[in-house]
């Protein structure tokens, strides 16, 4: 399970509180010190951790909690609520346009899994009886267009490309016209990986956005990312109208702290998680279920 280490540590720490009939301020502070370490060990951003711990502490030290009959339980409930909040509450659906095609654009750092995620989404839409079109707007990476074609062939979804000499915005525009003519109702735009601090490439992405006004712009984030995840997510969110996040490579033994951090800084929900290299390995993300599982509830 994702975040299983964190889960183990939190349950250990909070378990000690649960057994107690009386809980005082010192107990809470002690527990929160351990919660802080557990979250840091899970790669949750240190600023996010600080805020989280302070919030839980403040709520838990309130009179009603410590004076209640089951103070330990109350504290655990506060942690669960705040964790759910941190991850974004309930699962969030994609927005499909009433006037097809629905346009979905993917963006993110190099190597995070955008091209793979594009194929995974197309595969999912196809299974849902939609008619997706994949669009090759990565004109940078060697063989990126070929990669998308290979994946498109695998799942039998058409791929629109115009080589690597055109501007990605023009390619995307061309793809939408193509989709309209050919009854493709979802257009999925793959883009080149880029650093959030690369002004030229970020501008390019904004130009694509302006030209095609996507219904969804999903940031693809590698779950193994450490503390920098928030800087990246923050910057992409500033430059683009992000609608959500795809968290990839959760099939690893990653601590997954990035998942707890990015929602917080962007306010945008994690919509899907990638759990393997194969095109079927994409799941809808349910934050509420996850936070309950983390705390063994």
């Amino acid at each position: 399970m994702m975040l299983s280490r964190l889960s183990e540590k939190l349950q250990n720490t909070l378990g000690k509180l649960k057994g107690k009939g009386k809980v005082n301020e010192k107990d809470v502070k002690e527990a929160m010190r351990e919660v802080r370490l557990a979250l840091l060990e899970a790669d949750v951003n240190y600023k996010v951790v600080k805020e989280f711990v302070n919030k839980v502490k403040e709520r838990a030290i309130g009179e009603e909690v410590l004076e209640s009959l089951t103070p330990g339980q109350q504290v655990i409930k506060i942690v669960r609520d705040e964790l759910t909040e941190l991850m974004g509450g309930e699962a969030t659906e994609l927005n499909f346009s009433d006037k097809p095609p629905t346009v979905i654009m993917l963006a993110g750092l190099q190597g995070t899994g955008k091209t793979t995620a594009a194929a995974k989404l197309a595969n999912k839409f196809k299974k849902d009886n939609k008619h997706p079109l994949l669009v090759a707007c990565d004109t940078q990476r060697p063989a990126a267009i070929k990669q998308l074609h290979v994946l498109g062939d695998q799942i039998e979804v058409p791929v629109f490309s115009m080589g690597d000499k055109q501007h990605p915005a023009d390619i995307a525009k061309g793809a939408i016209e193509h989709a309209k003519k050919n009854q493709r109702d979802v257009v999925i735009v793959d883009t080149a990986g880029r650093l959030h601090v690369d002004e030229d490439l970020m501008t390019e992405l904004k130009q694509v956005e302006e030209k095609i006004s996507p219904h969804e712009i999903l940031l693809v984030v590698d779950a193994m990312t450490g503390q920098d995840a928030v800087n990246v997510a923050d910057r992409f969110n500033e430059d683009l109208a992000l609608s959500g996040i795809i968290m990839t490579k959760l099939d690893g033994d990653t601590r997954g702290g990035a998942a707890l951090s990015v929602k917080k800084v962007t306010g945008k929900p994690i919509k899907f998680i990638g759990t393997g290299e194969k095109v079927e390995e994409l799941e809808v993300f349910h934050p509420d279920r996850l936070s309950s599982r983390i705390l063994g509830m």
Binding site: L109, G111, D251, T254
Partner: protein, 284 residues
Amino acid sequence: SSSSSIDEEFFEELEDILIGADVGVDTTMKIVEQIKERINEEKIKDPQDVDEILKEEVLNMLHFDSDEREVDDSLKVTLIVGVNGAGKTTSIGKLANRYKQNDQKVLLAAADTFRAAAIDQLKIWGDRVGVDVIRHQEGSDPAAVVYDGLQAARARKVDHLICDTAGRLHNKKNLMDELNKISRVIDRELGHPPHEVLLVLDATTGQNALNQAKLFSEVTPVSGIVLTKLDGTAKGGIVLALADELKLPIKYIGVGEGINDLQDFVSEQFVDALFSNSEDLTEN
């Protein structure tokens, strides 16, 4: 550090800096303990002086004796390994270019037969650099590609063979077994392990990198790290733990997607960047 005295707040800030740079909780605590000890022993009062010993301690972690695999062969073989998307194939292009500029004859083996268009990607890099690429069909046995690469390298009197492999997560047993098989083919053909096994690590990676390094080292004799994507805002602090715990040297850093964007790892520069407040290393 911006604190004006050495107090609790000072150490908290130090912890934040280290953890924020992905040094990891365990290594951070270890460094902070060491610093506290030295502050006591050396009766240090000025935070300015702490900055000095901090850099010293961190540099110490990065400096250790590693046994160089100096085998006097005419053919040197480098195996490139790592998790998905770390920058393996790109780093091979850059490395090949480096060797070639040093007048070495280089050959590449496209042993990632799994990833869509991975072979094409390496071929494009080979063309850019002007070196040949040994390749089979997509889906074929990667160990066989490496074997062919070795034969071709010998027949063509190549100085350096670099083998690309598919990205794989270290917790996937069957994929790690496959890597072990590739490694053994080289071992058998050369009569000793590859001259270099470079683990390519994305600088944005968090504490998971430690497990990556441990588990890759179990299936193939990893000799060093290539730390990629240092042109972003990630500091790559987790390599401190790799150096300290696993005694794995960092050999190269990747600072871009271009053919010349591979540099030697210079520990002083790395440590300076680790503690620089600038969020953007390229602006330094």
